[in-house]
C-alpha cells in the first residue's frame, strides 16, 4: 500500500506539491524581495526626487538628477577614474591570477595545495582590518615602502596623496586582498578542461608551450572570458573598503569611482537624489555586463555538448 500511495505525494497532489515547494522557497524569496528587489525599485524612485535624506521636503524633479550628473565635470572625473581603475583591475584581478593558475598546472597537486592555502589567506582577513597595515606601508615618513626605496637612494612619492600614485596604491591593496580568491577560481576553471582531450594531445606528443597554446588556452577561452566579466563586476566592489580606509575617494577625486560615489553622496553629503541616480546608472552598467556574461555562459555550455 505504501508503495502505491507514498506519503508526501497524495493523490490530488499537483497543487499541494506546489504549495509545499512554495513553503520551502518562500521565506528566502521574501527576504530577497524585501532587501534586494524592493530597494532597487525604491532607489529608482528616489532618483527622481531632490532630497537631503533627512527632511520631509522631497520635491519631484523628474530626470534633473541625471541631467545634472551628465553635465557635471566631477562626475565625468568619477567615470574616468572608474575606467582607469577597471583597467588596473584587469591586470591584477584577472591576468595575474590567471598567470599564477597556469604556472600551478606545472607542479603536482599536493604542492599546488600549499600555494593555494597561502595565497588564499588574505581572503579570510577583514578588508578594513587588513588594509590598516598598508597605511603604515604607505606612510610618507618612515613607512615601509619609503624606507625600502631609500635604501637604493630613491625618493618615494606620496603614495596616497599624490593624485598620480593614489589610484595604483589603492588598487594594489585590493589585488592583494582578492588575489587568492581569483586564483582559486581561475585554477578551478583550468582544471575543468576535459582530461581526455589533454591526454590525447600528450599522446600525440604535445607538451609545454605548444600544449598550452594549441590545447589549453583555446579550451579555456570561454571560461576565461567568463572569469574576465566576473572580475570586472567584482572590481569596484573589491576596492571599496581600501578606498574608505586609505583615501576616502581623494586626493581630488583620484580614487573615487561610480560605486564609491553612490555611498559618499548618500551617507556623507546626504544628496540622496544624486546618489540614487548614480546607483541607477551603476545598475544599468552592471546589467549590460551581465547580459554579456550570460551570452558567454550559453556559449560555454554549447562547447560542453
Amino acid at each position: 500500500m505504501q508503495a502505491l500511495n507514498p506519503g508526501g505525494r497524495p493523490k490530488g497532489g499537483a497543487a499541494r506539491l506546489e504549495a509545499t515547494a512554495a513553503l520551502y522557497y518562500g521565506p528566502a524569496l521574501l527576504f530577497l524581495g524585501l532587501f534586494v528587489f524592493w530597494p532597487l525599485v525604491s532607489t529608482a524612485w528616489i532618483s527622481l526626487h531632490d532630497w537631503n535624506m533627512v527632511g520631509a521636503n522631497r520635491p519631484w524633479v523628474g530626470l534633473d538628477n541625471y541631467r545634472s550628473l551628465l553635465g557635471d565635470p566631477d562626475f565625468a572625473g568619477t567615470l574616468r577614474q572608474s575606467a582607469l581603475y577597471i583597467g588596473l583591475a584587469l591586470l591584477g584581478n584577472f591576468l595575474l591570477p590567471l598567470g599564477l593558475a597556469l604556472l600551478t598546472l606545472q607542479v603536482g597537486r599536493r604542492e599546488a595545495e600549499v600555494y593555494q592555502s597561502l595565497l588564499f589567506l588574505p581572503t579570510v582577513i577583514a578588508v578594513s582590518v587588513g588594509t590598516l597595515i598598508w597605511l603604515w606601508f604607505y606612510l610618507p615618513a618612515g613607512g615601509l615602502f619609503g624606507v625600502a626605496l631609500a635604501q637604493f637612494g630613491l625618493r618615494a612619492p606620496n603614495w596616497l596623496s599624490d593624485p598620480a600614485w593614489a589610484l595604483p596604491s589603492v588598487a594594489l591593496v585590493a589585488v592583494w586582498k582578492f588575489l587568492g580568491f581569483n586564483y582559486l577560481i581561475a585554477l578551478a576553471g583550468l582544471r575543468a578542461i576535459p582530461v581526455s582531450v589533454l591526454e590525447a594531445a600528450r599522446i600525440d606528443g604535445a607538451g609545454g608551450w605548444p600544449l598550452l597554446r594549441a590545447v589549453i588556452l583555446p579550451l579555456f577561452a570561454p571560461s576565461a572570458l567568463f572569469l574576465l566579466v566576473s572580475a570586472l563586476l567584482a572590481a569596484l566592489e573589491n576596492v571599496f573598503v581600501p578606498i574608505e580606509v586609505l583615501t576616502v575617494g581623494g586626493p581630488a577625486g583620484a580614487t573615487n569611482n561610480l560605486m564609491y560615489a553612490v555611498y559618499q553622496d548618500a551617507f556623507k553629503f546626504f544628496r540622496a537624489g544624486r546618489a540614487a541616480a548614480e546607483a541607477v546608472l551603476l545598475v544599468a552598467a552592471f546589467a549590460v555586463l551581465i547580459v554579456w556574461q550570460f551570452r558567454l555562459l550559453e556559449r560555454r555550455t554549447a562547447y560542453d555538448r
Binding site: Y24, T43, S117, P122, V283
Partner: protein, 315 residues
C-alpha cells in the same frame, strides 16, 4: 617476475588519483599531475622550477602584510621607526596587547561580532537549505523564475541597496540594534545558488527510493539529503561566518554610533581616532580581530577551498 616492475610503476599513479577528495568533482585528477607521478627518474625540467619559484615568490609577497601586521604588534614602540624594515624583533613584547585589552571594550565588540556573524550564518542556512532543496528536487512550476530571481539578486551591487535598507530600518526603529544589523544580511542568494549546485548532483534514485519508503518531503531533506551534504553545508557555514565577521561598510552605517559596534568597525574607529599613530596597539587590535577568522580558515581550509572551486566550475 617481469610483471612486478610495471605494477610498482603504476601504483603511485592510482594512489595519486584517488586521494584528493575534490579531484573527482573537478573532472578527475589533472593529467599534467598524474602522468608525472610515476616513480621513474625524470630529467631536470626548467619550466617546473621556474613555475615553482614564481609561485613561491608570489605566496611570499602575499604574506608580507600579514607578517608585518603581526610583527608590529609585538615590536617595542621604541624600535618601530629605528628599524622599520625588519618585520620581527627579538624579544617580542606583549605591551601593546595589554594596552589594547585594557583601553578598549574588546570583549563587548567581539560578542557583537559573534552574534552578528552567527545570526547571519544560521539565518541564511535556515532560509537557503529549504529553498535549495525546493529548487533542486521538488521541481515547482515557478522554480525557474525563483532561481532567476536568486541569480539576479547576486548581481545587484551591494551599495545600491544600502540607502533604501537604511531608510527601512530607520522607519522600523532598528538602527543601532543587532537585529537591524542582521536582517538585511539575510539575503541568501549565494547560499541558495551554491547548495542547489551541490544538491543537484545528488542521485535522484536515492531520493525516490526514500519517497517509496513513505518519507515525507521534509524527511527526505532532513534524513537523506542533508546528511549526505555535511561537508558543503559546513564549508558554506564557515564562509558565511567569515564574510559576515569581516563586514565593514554595513555595520559602520547601521551600528556605527552605539553599543552594537562590531570588532572590525571598532578597530577602524580606533585607527582613525586615538590609535592613528600608535601602530603597536593598532596592529595588536588588528591581529586580535583577525585571529578568529584565520583560525577557522586553518581548521576548515580543505573543505573551504574544495567547495569554492567546485561551486565555481559547476556555476
Amino acid at each position: 617476475m617481469t610483471v612486478n616492475p610495471v605494477a610498482v610503476d603504476v601504483d603511485p599513479v592510482k594512489v595519486d588519483l584517488g586521494t584528493p577528495s575534490s579531484a573527482v568533482g573537478i573532472a578527475g585528477g589533472h593529467p599534467l599531475v598524474t602522468l608525472r607521478s610515476r616513480r621513474r627518474p625524470r630529467p631536470f625540467r626548467w619550466t617546473l622550477w621556474a613555475a615553482r619559484i614564481l609561485l613561491l615568490i608570489s605566496a611570499g609577497l602575499v604574506l608580507v602584510p600579514v607578517v608585518y601586521q603581526f610583527g608590529l604588534s609585538v615590536k617595542p614602540s621604541a624600535g618601530l621607526f629605528s628599524a622599520p624594515l625588519s618585520p620581527l624583533t627579538w624579544p617580542p613584547t606583549a605591551e601593546h596587547y595589554a594596552q589594547v585589552l585594557e583601553g578598549l571594550p574588546l570583549w563587548r565588540y567581539t560578542l557583537n561580532s559573534l552574534v552578528f556573524a552567527l545570526g547571519v550564518t544560521v539565518g541564511q542556512l535556515l532560509l537557503a537549505v529549504p529553498a535549495a532543496y525546493a529548487l533542486s528536487h521538488l521541481r515547482p512550476r515557478w522554480g525557474p523564475a525563483v532561481f532567476g530571481a536568486v541569480l539576479i539578486s547576486l548581481m545587484v551591487p551591494f551599495v545600491v541597496t544600502y540607502l533604501p535598507n537604511y531608510l527601512l530600518l530607520a522607519r522600523w526603529g532598528l538602527l543601532n540594534t543587532l537585529p537591524g544589523l542582521i536582517l538585511p544580511m539575510l539575503t541568501a542568494g549565494y547560499a541558495i545558488f551554491l547548495l542547489r549546485q551541490h544538491f543537484l548532483s545528488f542521485p535522484r534514485e536515492i531520493i525516490e527510493a526514500a519517497l517509496v519508503d513513505g518519507a515525507t518531503t521534509g524527511q527526505r531533506l532532513w534524513r537523506v539529503l542533508l546528511p549526505a551534504h555535511r561537508a558543503p553545508v559546513a564549508a558554506l557555514a564557515v564562509y558565511l561566518f567569515i564574510s559576515t565577521w569581516n563586514q565593514f561598510v554595513w555595520p559602520q552605517l547601521v551600528a556605527g554610533r552605539s553599543e552594537s559596534l562590531t570588532l572590525t568597525v571598532a578597530v577602524q574607529r580606533f585607527a582613525s581616532g586615538e590609535g592613528g599613530n600608535a601602530w603597536g596597539p593598532l596592529m595588536a587590535a588588528a591581529t586580535l580581530a583577525t585571529l578568529p577568522t584565520v583560525l577557522l580558515y586553518f581548521f576548515m581550509r580543505r573543505a573551504l577551498l574544495d567547495t569554492f572551486s567546485e561551486g565555481a566550475v559547476k556555476g
